[in-house]
Each structure stands twice: as structure tokens, then as C-alpha cells.
Amino acid sequence: MDLVANNLSYKPDDQYHLNEVSFNFREGNLYTILGRTLSGKTTLLKTIAGLLTPDSGEIEFDGKNFLKIPVWERNVAMVYQQFINYPHLNVFENIAFPLKQRKIDKSIIKEKVMDALKSVGLLGYENRKIQELSGGQQQRVSLARSLVKNAKILLLDEPLVNLDYKLREQLREEFKNLFSKGLADETILIYSTTDPRETMELNGEVIVLDEGKVLQVGPAKEIFENPNSLKVAEISNDPPMNIIEAKISDNQIRFEGVDVEAPQHLSKLTEDGLKIGLRSSDIELSENGHEFEVELAEISGSETLLHLKRGNTKIIVSIEEVLNFKIHDKVKINFKIDRAYAFHADGKLASSPFGDLNG
């Protein structure tokens, strides 16, 4: 049972929320929609759920025209980024709600709700009020409510974004377990996120969305290794990939008075307007490197993010330890240039360290 969309467009105001989006989702797979905020992720999920009707395009599920079926008959489940539950019902009643709606026998409902509670680790909470739960527990309740339905399509709209760091890690781990437990055998799982790290960890098929347009589709590994354009490189890296305007001549990459020997995969590119992409983790501090000025230093967790500047070139370096820098300090850095990407002036990928573009 495949979910197929053709040229979905949705333009409620002067901006496209969806722009000619097409996809082919197969049952038993996990799809991750990666995109920044306002890129159309939620719109796409709502369109699949049936809460929005696209201006043009088609969706088919199991060979049937999905757009003709109202939301309440579609058998989809959705977890929102906000923790949406029914505040007037307790935990048990919340999870039982979709089953009661289907008029299922009471004893079966009880059994299923208990199973769902168990799988999200909330056994013993069934009589609690929703308001008495923490954010993470509330999100588990809404996850349980969407699991209990055995929906053919499970939509998760940035389900972890409103949780604090520790809970996020924990729930993400549980998600992975749930997804791999065979739940996914008959289900199409669609997970939207802004977080590239989450995308890589979930390791499903990735759809990169920006301004309502699909930029690239492929397995997580491929998106990471061969982003097909500058935009994808920015979206699929956190912090975004550094983009340096440089010139390559005589086997040297030159910018802002810095000369770096070009690696083999870049040496043949001599065109104008070339942009070099380098991940923030592929730059290191080094005594005999090139001098840059510190514009900002932020410490996040056990990592230090250095915003550096030289002339008009700004780059971000992430260092796996906590270091203290002052603004305007001078630091010396070295580029792991053999991991650099090159993009044409129009933003298309020119060369990648992982070799063949189509590979």
C-alpha cells in the first residue's frame, strides 16, 4: 500500500507552502522530512492527514484518491510538535478516544490502551489528568494515542522539538526502538524535523524541503555525503556548512589571502564564482594555521562554536571541548581540505569528497 503524491501545490497567500511536491512512500518505511521552520513540513503532513486541501495535485493511497476521503475516514495518526491531548479526559480516556470513536468492544479497548501505555512507558498513569503530567509524558500520551489506532500512516510533526535536551535524547531513543520493533511493517512512518542530527540518527529515507519545494530525496547517508546543492548542504548540517567564495588556480584554493592546496577532487575546477563548502567540524585549531578573528564564541554542551572572520569571509568552527575565547581574539585554524565540497555559482554541487555524484 503506497502513498503517492503528484505535484502537490498549496499557496494560500503570496508564498508557496507546497510547490509541486511529489513523492512515493512505501509501506514499512520511515521517511524523514528535513527542512527549516516554515519550509512547508507541517503543511505537507496536514495535507497527507487531510486537514488541508492542496490547490492542485493528487494524493493516492492504496490506489484510491485520498483527496476524496475526509480526514476522519483516512485512518492516519498524527503527533504534533505541541503536546496535543484532550484536556477534559484523563490519560486512559485520551488514548481510548480514537478506539471509542470506532465503537470497539470495551474489553478490547482496555487491552489495547494498556499495550500502548506499556510501549510508551506510562503504565500506572492511566488515571492521571493530562495537566498533571510533564511535557515529555504528555507527548508520550499523544504518541500512545496515535499508536493505539494501528493507523496505516503515522505522521510525526517535530515531536521532540518542544522537549528539553535530556528528554529529547531519551524519547528519540524510544522512537527508534518503536520504529524498529516491527511497528513499521505495515505502516508508513513520516517524521518531520529541523534537526539534521535527528535525521541521521533515524536513518530513513530523507526528503529535504525548502520553501515548499523538494530539493533532494535519498537515504540519510547520501544526503549527508552528497548534498546536491548549497541549500541542502546548509539545511542538512547543524551548524550550517561553511560556504567560502574561493578561486582555484594552480592547484591552490585561494580566498582572503589564504592559500590551501586543493585536494584531488577539487583541483580540476577552475571556473569563476566557485563556492567551497566545509563542515564546521572539518576545521581545527592549529598552531601553524591561518589567522582568523573571533567574532563570537558560544559553548553548547561539551562543544564550543567559534564564529570566525577574515576579511569578508565568515566561518563557524565547532570544537569538541569547552574553550574560552574573547571577542577579537586571534586564532589559528587549519582546514581539513580533503573533506571540502565545491558548488557551482548557481548552487549545484560540483564535487564532493565522497566521489561520484550519482554514486
Binding site: R74, M78, Y80, I84, N85, Y86, L133, Q138
Partner: protein, 282 residues
Amino acid sequence: MNKLYIFLKYFFIVVWTVFVVAPFLWALTTSFKDFQSVNGGVTYIPWVDFEPNLEGWKVLIKSPAKGGVDIIEPYFNSLFVTCTASLISIILGTLSAYALSRYTFKAGFVKNNDITFFFISQRIMPPIVLSIPFFLFLSSINLLDSLTGLIVVYIVLLMPIAVWIMVDFFNKVPREIDETALIDGCNPYQAFLKVVLPNSIPGLIVAGMFCIIFGWIDFFFAFILTFTEVQLLPVKIVALNSSVTPWWSLSASALVSVAPLIIVAFIVERYLSKGNLSGAIK
């Protein structure tokens, strides 16, 4: 410092309580007085200051033939008109408020906010402006001097209050709750009845209370749109006044007429503090 705070707190509570309760006590004692006691200077305590009697109360239930002003029928008329009009206003008002909050309407330059304002604008107009069209309207459909006519007019007056309060309330109920209900297999009507409405009880209570209060205390339209067949309580109470002001029966009728509102307030107060929308979205 702390003691001073407690002292001041209770001091103001006592002052305020006296301020609120005194008029009622005053009306209560006055209702048991006769002509002499009312005009014979300030007196407070029955049996000590004056000899209480039930004349003021008896007048209210005696038929006019025996020199009384039977307020029982107007009382139930008022109850009936107020409750019916409030109920219909709440039902219609809640439905329109939900539509205004959730769906987008557009007719030329008229949009949702304009429609909401149109409802409220009905209350902005001074009643005197509305009285003539209402009078002509009711007379043309033969509903002058009837309970049905009054109910129709009161719905026009009360529904804006319900719409106004409920639009604001529904706007605060996250749309995602409706959407989740739809995804969980409710059609739009079930989503409204099973999910949105149960979470809107505090709003319904506030709206209901305002409707009941404004319906119950209205004198103007009850006075203009009825003559002899039907009378409402406020009109009847005013009619008590004659060449000699009967302070005793006026006090008694004032107490009787304010009683339902006090009862409503006590019942409603318990629900109002229970607002349970938190936890829908965190």
C-alpha cells in the same frame, strides 16, 4: 509587619462585606416594617426598635382585587422569558462563535472580525434607538404583549453577549485539538460536541451568567413591548409605587427579584474557578 498586614486585610474585608451586605439587611428589615416604623426615624432591630409585620410581603402575593399586587405570575414570566431567551442565545451564540473562530468567511470586504463586530454593535446602540423598530416589528407579526415576542427581542439582545464571549474563548482553544479529534475519527460535529464543547464549559458558564443577568434585569423593553396581557417582574415592581411609596413591599420585592441571581452566582462560582484548559498545549 505581618500582623499589620493581616489586620489591614481583615479590616478591608470587613469594610467591604458591610458595604455589600448592609443594603440587603436594610432592605430585609424594611420589608417587615409598616408605615409608622418607616417614617418614625432610623430603626434597625425588629421587636426592639419596631414591631415587625408581614404586610409588605403579603401584598406581593395578594390578588389586585384584595388590594395586593400579585407578583407571582410576572415572576414566573420573567423566569421563563429569561431562561428561554438565554438558552436559545447560548446555543445559537456558541454555534456562531465556533464558526467565526474556526472558519474563514468572506463577502466583499466583510470578514470574520466584521461579523463579530456586527454582533457586538447591537449592544452598542442605545436601547431607545432599538425600541421603535422592535415595537413596529413585533406589532407587524402580532407578537406585541406576548411572551414569545419578548423572547425574540431578548435573543437579539443576549446573543451578541454569548457570541462575543465565546468567540474569544474558542480562539483560545487550540485549533490543533479540533484537528486531532478529526484525525481520531470524529466528523466536524462530533469534534465540536465531544472535544471542543467539554473544554469550553467555563466560557459557557460566563456567557450564560451574563445572559441571565442582562435578561433578568431588563426593564426598558419589558416596559415598552408589553401592556396588560403579559408583565415581567421589573415592570411590576416599578408599578408598586403609588402616591405613598410602599417601602416595605418595594424592599420585599427587591429581595425576591435579586434572589435568583444570587443563587446563580453561588452555583456558578464553583465552576468558574475550575478552568481546565491548561494542559491542552504546553
